[in-house]
C-alpha cells in the first residue's frame, strides 16, 4: 500500500509499504478521509519524535477485513476511530483524567493514518471505534476526534449563559471551540493574528474579534468587558 513516510521535517516520501496484517481480534480499515492535526505538525517538527514514521490519527474509513472474533462490525461499515485508549485502571483513569494515562499515550493506530490502510487493535475496536451512518457527510465525520477533545475541555468549565469566553488562536481547534461555546449559550472574543481566520471566526459565531498585530488586546478586552472575560481558552 501507499504511505506517506516522514524522514524529517523537510522530507516526506510517498512509498510502498506492507499492508498491516490483522489478528482474530483486529480489523483492517481502508482510509476514506484523513486530516492533518496540529499535534501531527508538532510531532513532525519535534526532533525527539522517532522518524521515519507515518503520522496522522484523524480517520474516516471503511472496514475491509475483520478478524474472526469481531462481531460488532462488518465488511463495508464506515467507521471513525480515536487513536489512544485509556487503561481504565491506573490512578489517572480512576480519577477521570484518562488522557494522562500512560497506556493512553502509548497506544495508537497502526501505522498512522497518512496511508491507505490502518489496523485497529482489539482495544480500539472495543472502546473507541464508532460506526457512522452511510448517508452522513463523511468529510464532517473527520471532526469526531478533534471535536471530542474540545467537548471535553468545554465540559470541564462551569459557566452560565452569556458568559464571555476568549479563544486565543483560531486554528481548527479554536474554530471548533467557538461553535461549541455559541451552542452552549456563551459569548466569544476570538483573538488571532490572521485576518482571514478572524473573518471565518466571525462567520462561525464569534461575537468580537481582536487582531493583536494591529490592536491592543488589553484595551480591546476592556472595551468589551470592564472586568475581563469569564473564561479564557488558549487552544
Amino acid at each position: 500500500m501507499k504511505a506517506l513516510i516522514c524522514y524529517n521535517q523537510n522530507e516526506f516520501k510517498l512509498e510502498e509499504i506492507d499492508r498491516p496484517e490483522i489478528q482474530k481480534d483486529e480489523m483492517l480499515i481502508e482510509m476514506i478521509y484523513t486530516s492533518l492535526c496540529g499535534s501531527d505538525i508538532i510531532k513532525i517538527l519535534d526532533p525527539e519524535v522517532k522518524k521515519p514514521a507515518v503520522f496522522g490519527h484523524e480517520v474516516v474509513g471503511r472496514v475491509v477485513k475483520v478478524g474472526k472474533n469481531i462481531t460488532r462490525f462488518n465488511l463495508g461499515d464506515v467507521v471513525v476511530a480515536a487513536h489512544h485508549i485509556p487503561c481504565y485502571r491506573c490512578h489517572y483513569c480512576l480519577h477521570g483524567n484518562h488522557s494522562m494515562c500512560r497506556h493512553f499515550k502509548e497506544t495508537n493506530i497502526y501505522p498512522g493514518s497518512f496511508c491507505q490502510y490502518i489496523r485497529l487493535s482489539k482495544e480500539h475496536i472495543r472502546y473507541t471505534t464508532f460506526k457512522i451512518p452511510p448517508d452522513s457527510n463523511l468529510l464532517e465525520a473527520l471532526f469526531v476526534e478533534p471535536l471530542a477533545c474540545c467537548i471535553r475541555a468545554v465540559d470541564r468549565v462551569t459557566f452560565r449563559k452569556d458568559d464571555i469566553f476568549s479563544v486565543v488562536g483560531t486554528g481548527v481547534i479554536g474554530m471548533l471551540f467557538i461553535q461549541l461555546i455559541k451552542l452552549s449559550g456563551g459569548r466569544v472574543v476570538a483573538i488571532e493574528l490572521d485576518n482571514d481566520r478572524l473573518s471565518m471566526a466571525r462567520f462561525l459565531g464569534a461575537d468580537c474579534t481582536i487582531n493583536p498585530s494591529n490592536q491592543n488586546i488589553a484595551r480591546e478586552i476592556k472595551n468589551i468587558t470592564d472586568i475581563g472575560v469569564d473564561i479564557a481558552y488558549s487552544p
Partner: protein, 345 residues
C-alpha cells in the same frame, strides 16, 4: 486445575446445600483463587431468604466478598502470578456501553456478577482481574481485605451523600452497611445519629463512632426523635437509609431538614414503593437519590481505606465459621446477631 471442591449452592429461598462440585476451569485471561476468607453479606441473607431477582440463578454458587491466593493463572495474564494474595470485587464495567461512556459505571448495561465465594475456589474473569483486583499487602489479613466489595459500595454511597464537616447525619440501620456508613461519615467530620431496632447493634454503632443512638423499638416516633437531636428540631443535613425497608425509606425522607440530601441506599424488595409528600419535596427542595453498587474508582478508594487502616476492618467480623456452617451464619445475621461472619474452608 481439575478436581472437586466443596461449595454451598443456592437452590432457592431457604434451600442452600453443601455439595461437592467441579473446580472451575479457567480461560487464558482468567485466574483461579483458593478462598481464604469469605464474608457474609446482607444481600446473601436476602438471597437466602427470598431469592435474587437478577444476580443468582437456580442452583448456583454464591457469596461475593472474599480474599484468597491465586493458585492457577491463564497464559495471557501478566499483572498477577500464582501465589499472589488478592482481593477482587464481583463485577467490572464494560467501558463500552452508553452509561460507561457517561462515566456512570455503576449503571453499566453489561455488569456480569462473579459469585461463588462460599466455596473452596473461585474463578476470576479476565476483565475483573485486569481492572478490579488488588494485591493485598502483607500486613493486611485476608478477612480484612475481604471487606473490599461492601466497603466500595458504601464509599460510593458516602461520596453521593454530600456530607460537609460538622453536618448532622442520620444512618438508619446499623447492620454491616449502616456501620460502614457510620465509620465513613465520621471520617468526613460529621456528627452521626444511628437508628436501629437492636441494642446490640447500637452498641456496635457507638463503637464505630456514632454520636447518638436511637432504639426505634423504644420510640413511638423515630422521626421526631431524630429531629429532636438537631438545632431547632429542623432535621438532619443528610439522611441515609441502610435498611432496604420501604417504611424506613419514608421515615428517612422525613428526617431531613429543608434542602437535605436523602440517600436511599438500602435496596428494597422488588414490587415495593414509597410515598413522598409532594409539598415537602417541592418546598423543602429535598435531594432524594438512590445509589447502587460500586465503580472501579470507589473500589480503589475502599482498598486504600483498608490498607491505610483508616477503617478498622477487623471490627466488622464477629466470628469465624467453617464453610459447612454457612446457613447458621446467615441465620445469625437474620436474627441481627453480630455483624459479619468470616467463612473459612
Amino acid at each position: 486445575m481439575k478436581g472437586k471442591m466443596k461449595a454451598q449452592l443456592f437452590y432457592g429461598p431457604e434451600d442452600v446445600r453443601y455439595e461437592n462440585i467441579n473446580i472451575p476451569e479457567i480461560g487464558d485471561d482468567e485466574a483461579l483463587v483458593k478462598i481464604k476468607s469469605a464474608l457474609t453479606c446482607g444481600s446473601d441473607l436476602k438471597t437466602y431468604k427470598r431469592g435474587h431477582p437478577t444476580m443468582i440463578k437456580e442452583a448456583s454458587v454464591f457469596g461475593h466478598e472474599w480474599a484468597g491466593d491465586i493458585v492457577e493463572i491463564g497464559s495471557d495474564v501478566d499483572n498477577f502470578k500464582v501465589g499472589d494474595r488478592i482481593a477482587a470485587v464481583n463485577s467490572v464495567p464494560c467501558y463500552e456501553c452508553y452509561y460507561c461512556k457517561l462515566e456512570r459505571y455503576s449503571l453499566c448495561e453489561n455488569l456480569i456478577y462473579n459469585n461463588g465465594a462460599y466455596a473452596e475456589y473461585i474463578k476470576i474473569p479476565g476483565n475483573i482481574l485486569k481492572k478490579n483486583t488488588y494485591i493485598i499487602p502483607d500486613k493486611i489479613d485476608y478477612r480484612e481485605a475481604a471487606l473490599l466489595e461492601p466497603l466500595a459500595c458504601v464509599v460510593h454511597g458516602i461520596e453521593e451523600s454530600n456530607i460537609k464537616t460538622d453536618d448532622m447525619v442520620v444512618i438508619n440501620g446499623a447492620g454491616p452497611i449502616g456501620l460502614m456508613f457510620i465509620a465513613l461519615a465520621r471520617l468526613k467530620g460529621a456528627l452521626v445519629i444511628s437508628v436501629d431496632l437492636s441494642d446490640e447493634r447500637l452498641e456496635y454503632a457507638k463503637d464505630f463512632g456514632a454520636d447518638y443512638t436511637i432504639n426505634a423499638s423504644k420510640e413511638s416516633n423515630q422521626v421526631a426523635a431524630v429531629k429532636e437531636l438537631t438545632e431547632d428540631k429542623k432535621g438532619v443535613d443528610v439522611a441515609v437509609d441502610a435498611t432496604g425497608i420501604p417504611e424506613v425509606w419514608e421515615m428517612t425522607i422525613l428526617m431531613g431538614r429543608k434542602g437535605a440530601t436523602i440517600n436511599l441506599f438500602g435496596g428494597c424488595a422488588s414490587g415495593t414503593s414509597v410515598n413522598i409528600d409532594t409539598q415537602l419535596l417541592h418546598y423543602s427542595e429535598l435531594t432524594i437519590k438512590g445509589v447502587y453498587h460500586h465503580t472501579p474508582y470507589y473500589v480503589k478508594k475502599a482498598f486504600d481505606l483498608i490498607t491505610s487502616r483508616q477503617i478498622d476492618t477487623v471490627k466488622f467480623i464477629t466470628a469465624d465459621m467453617p464453610l459447612e456452617k454457612l446457613v447458621s451464619a446467615l441465620e445469625l445475621m437474620g436474627q441481627q446477631k453480630g455483624i459479619k461472619y468470616n467463612i473459612t474452608t
